[in-house]
Symmetry: C2
Amino acid sequence: MKAFYHKSLWTLFLILLPYLGWSQGEHPNLVLTAKGVEDLRTNLGKYPLLDKTFNKVKTRVLQALDEEINIPIPKDPGGGYTHEVHKQNYKKMYEAGLLYQIEQNDAYAEYVKKQLLGYAAMYPSLGLHPERKSSNPGVLFWQGLNDSVWLVYVSQAYDCVYDYLTKKERKEIEKNLFRPIVKFFSEQNVVNFDKVHNHGTWMVAGVGMISYVMGDEEMVQKTLKGSKLDGQSGFLKQLDELFSPDGYYTEGPYYQRYALMPFILYAHTLSHRNPELGIYEYRNGVLPKAVEAVLQLSYTNGRFFPINDALKEKTYNTAELVYGVDIAFTHFGQDAGLLSIAEEQGELMLGEEGVAVAKAIAEGKAKPFNYRSLELSDGSEGKNGGLGILRDGDQKDQLCLLMKYSSSGMGHGHFDKLSFSLYDKGVEVLQDYGAVRFLNTVQKQGGRYLPENKTWAKQTVSHNTVVVDAQSNYKGKQKVADKLNSEMFFTVFEDPKVQIISALDTTAYEGVKMQRTMAMISKGEHQKPWIIDLFRVNAEEEHQYDLPFYYMGHKIDSNIPFKIHSNQWNTMGDDHGYQHLWNMAEGNAASHLASFTWLQNERFYTLTSVANTETKYFMTQLGANDPEVNLRKDSGFMIRQPKAKAHTFLSVIEAHGEFNPNAEYTVNSESQLKDLKLLADTEEGSVVMLEDNSSQRWVLMIANQDAAKESKHTVTANGKTYEWVGPYQLQEMTSEL
Amino acid sequence: MKAFYHKSLWTLFLILLPYLGWSQGEHPNLVLTAKGVEDLRTNLGKYPLLDKTFNKVKTRVLQALDEEINIPIPKDPGGGYTHEVHKQNYKKMYEAGLLYQIEQNDAYAEYVKKQLLGYAAMYPSLGLHPERKSSNPGVLFWQGLNDSVWLVYVSQAYDCVYDYLTKKERKEIEKNLFRPIVKFFSEQNVVNFDKVHNHGTWMVAGVGMISYVMGDEEMVQKTLKGSKLDGQSGFLKQLDELFSPDGYYTEGPYYQRYALMPFILYAHTLSHRNPELGIYEYRNGVLPKAVEAVLQLSYTNGRFFPINDALKEKTYNTAELVYGVDIAFTHFGQDAGLLSIAEEQGELMLGEEGVAVAKAIAEGKAKPFNYRSLELSDGSEGKNGGLGILRDGDQKDQLCLLMKYSSSGMGHGHFDKLSFSLYDKGVEVLQDYGAVRFLNTVQKQGGRYLPENKTWAKQTVSHNTVVVDAQSNYKGKQKVADKLNSEMFFTVFEDPKVQIISALDTTAYEGVKMQRTMAMISKGEHQKPWIIDLFRVNAEEEHQYDLPFYYMGHKIDSNIPFKIHSNQWNTMGDDHGYQHLWNMAEGNAASHLASFTWLQNERFYTLTSVANTETKYFMTQLGANDPEVNLRKDSGFMIRQPKAKAHTFLSVIEAHGEFNPNAEYTVNSESQLKDLKLLADTEEGSVVMLEDNSSQRWVLMIANQDAAKESKHTVTANGKTYEWVGPYQLQEMTSEL
């Protein structure tokens, strides 16, 4: 109701907008403003990071000024010669424009002018790009996306030299270059202009920015409300739909980082040109939330969680996020944690915000970024599940668990319902594979997603989650997956004794209900919490349930009497990703607890799970049926319940001890877990007991059906009754129950 | 002749030594001296690293003072309770003694006194340790080695509190503790006392140091010249035989680091008590050379080259080398490169030398350690082959090649004749496996060397060198290996265009002569040199020759049409290490050049080798027949010449390009090598031609039989004659030959 009220007001405002006065004459006034120019001029030489950024830009521009201007007829696809030249050109124009504003040296403006006139001379003669992609054709580039990015940069360059140019020059440039481009986007390519999609955002941002420079108010309105001015598309609709209310972008952080850039650049322009719009407050501040969200979606090493298609090396030290971080610091509350990220980025945006960040850093205000436990809902209404993140410890040594119960994430999504990843001591411990791709590497299919991305990385078995009947979620059908999602059940972030994420899914496998509850139980100061993983599966029919864990280290020990395949390895299956797994070893547990210890990054980890006589265990290695050796040779540990209607996987993961090969000592290489039991497990609730070697016991009771705060739960098993109120209760004790 | 003369003088000197006056009364005067105490007192609070070290020591000592003194009856073997307690006790006494000297607080001296009196009360009642090792039994510990180490520390503690103790207390301690220990070592355990072996060094060092404190001149003489005072054993003989003239210790750097400690501590004591001995000048300064050698035997990441049995994580940041580095800086020429190592070590020896180092660091004198290309001969006469190291580039990004053509290295040696390892950009690129061992890890056989150390790590096929008939050097017989070694042929370090190591072996395989020449050819500034690997094998009979390369990255490309084993893996053989290798893929080359490119640490590497129609190629992965998963799953690339009397493997290794997943670009992912040819290859000499993509050519001529500087060589092949003088000649050209 509140949201609706909010929206109506907005609609009214937008109708009135064209009739409100708006500043037009001043240049530059898109992302960079007169104040920014003034701040830069007066503060250069004062702050190291500012000078470093400035000097890098100036070095590049001076180099460009030494070269012949080169504007080739568009011909090559992505990565090809003309493609790269036009990419370089927009960056050179943009940076030369900035420099002109700062130093007022005509040579820079002349450079931009010559480029612009060169493009203006060529553009009218061009048709669609010969290598165009049908879905979003370009003129200068093979895809319209690149033309849009070009426009975002070049409109800023034009803005910077606007006052330097003669009226005649401006007329020529606008008539032969910018107006045709705007026309191409808003008429010929209106399908993409009106698309509520990241490509649409780049397009309306570019068109909007150049329209501000040219004083085309009507076109600005179209970028905000769609070509039909009906609010069914355009920038505001994109803001409405592409982010969840928590600022999460459904494709995941790897793509969110990229998608954020046009949003931030255009929003920042709007904040200068139409401050009445209050764009940063729009949808309860969804853009500031999106910047915070993408940063929270990284681990302490700066790497984004590599869910969905993602290169796992990617960090927040990326050009796209420099704008987001600097603007967020300056305008969204001076969060000192952003300064340490700016320091790591090692560059600033040249403008008011970069100056503010450089100054604050020089004043020693930087603090570690405030990573916290949180949930991010998915879907424009926040109703399509989400991601839950639990964290314990500071930046130096943080245990961090990410659980995914969101929607599929569109074309780059993976079949990974209720999967999780675990991080510790600066690195991945239980991994999400990421994408199978060697970005930009010619020999690996030119850097494209490789076939194994589909046959392995997207498949359910490549994730740390349950696979039913050795098939992927939705039988691996993307179109089905796109429409369905898991659901949040409850989260607990504020209890110093325990943090919990509980989520469920009824969509991934027909007739199968899955519910996963993951908890971090505090073991007290100076100790890593223990992780409880309670994965309940219920079906009407009998199924095989597999639960793999992809650990990153070296196996040290196990109490499972594995039969090792010493002389010959065969695969774990024929499809759904199983064809890529070698079966290294298999065995049944020797007792009611099966433990598996590995060593990684000089720390030990033990996964202990409750076993019954049917439970089978496998050790796997990745790399079968991989003719081009595109896959890493990662290790896996798989728990299999061969035949059951209902089954509950209960495991505890411990980080323990230290292997110090340099100082030559090893401590606590063995698990501290003495016992682990599922005391009760009904539709109403589950009761888990764990005990450590010092006879400390924890009993965790979890509601399975009703997570309301005030609901009372009573569960009886083996003659004992457990009662609690609310979604969970934790009891600690040292003696018998 | 010169050496002989030198030795005679020494013998004369040693005979006279007992009759020369020597200072005795002053305490402390072993490693720590009155000057050291004075330096420490006046400089604490001035230099950060000194204060850091001091505070760490003081914290530990204060903690010890808070605890009950605990001197248990010796009972447990290594790692057990009484073992660990007695180890802790000697460290606590030692550090409390140091602190007493610095702060003159009686509480510290009291602590040492109580410990010493406690040991004196117990020692006379002890027999040999119940868990003793027969070869070197101990009393306080299971092996005499530990008793020796105990004595080295405790004699220093006693020296520090000597003047604090009453005459009666000293008498009691000496009579019941130190004299019995000395007697035990020098009489009952005289076999080890007189051993020219690292264990003997610890023993004579301990006995010598306590004898200095007690004023037992005769016993000091025995530690120097052996129990019979005939110079056939003792410290000086150990210095004669355990190091090569270049300061190399035959077991390799991992053990050299440990072996150096008693040498340094006792030599330093001698330098104070018998400066006339000139111990640091002994054998042309072999001890200073040994300190430099062990540091040169590390890569820029501080890790020692893991030849022979070695944990590859081990760096020079280890307590043993703190003494060596600080003493070397202070007394062997103030090498500023040692200061940066001291900084990384993060602690100092508390004495004159630590103060000097701390002061120099605080004055900003530290420079990067001067890594250089060099050869280290092996054997006491320097005639048992050696190690050659080629380096290019500074510490930030250094290409480094180590070639091993030494003797076997005794019990910890590997069958690795003419093997090499390659490092680049801070990490291993072509690896030596190191040892199969998880140090101190209970679950891995208590941290011992594991079975696969023998079946894999020691075997020839686990190294980057030729394996004849799929058998290890010397058929894997250690006793044979112990007596034989490879030979240096020639080295070139000073030519700016090329660096070379050439070595040969006629001992590893009966009737087979192997000769390997490795060269780094300069490609000019800002480019990594290319590495030429010319491996000639000659035999009278036909053999199979395998040459494996263990690369550390991910395969990117190859022009070899490999048949990949997709669904099933089998092993490469049944023994000599082959049983541990999975055969991933095999194939014959498609052209006269076979290339293989991998990606590691965001850089590409290509190995290109000359092939003929017989040459076979394999991709391997380690881990077969490994029931406890003790091995890493490392990758290998193997070249096989199935049947030949003579064969020459010619390869070029390139480091090239950059994969930057964060900034999202990749450059030069493909090899720049256009052609590679073996133009001539005779007993007299070999001629190698390589050409890069810009048609730059290099012709390298190498002598195979006579490496004399003035020798003329003429080699004719395919109607062309190549002539040069000396062991090598390099020609650079851009046109045809």
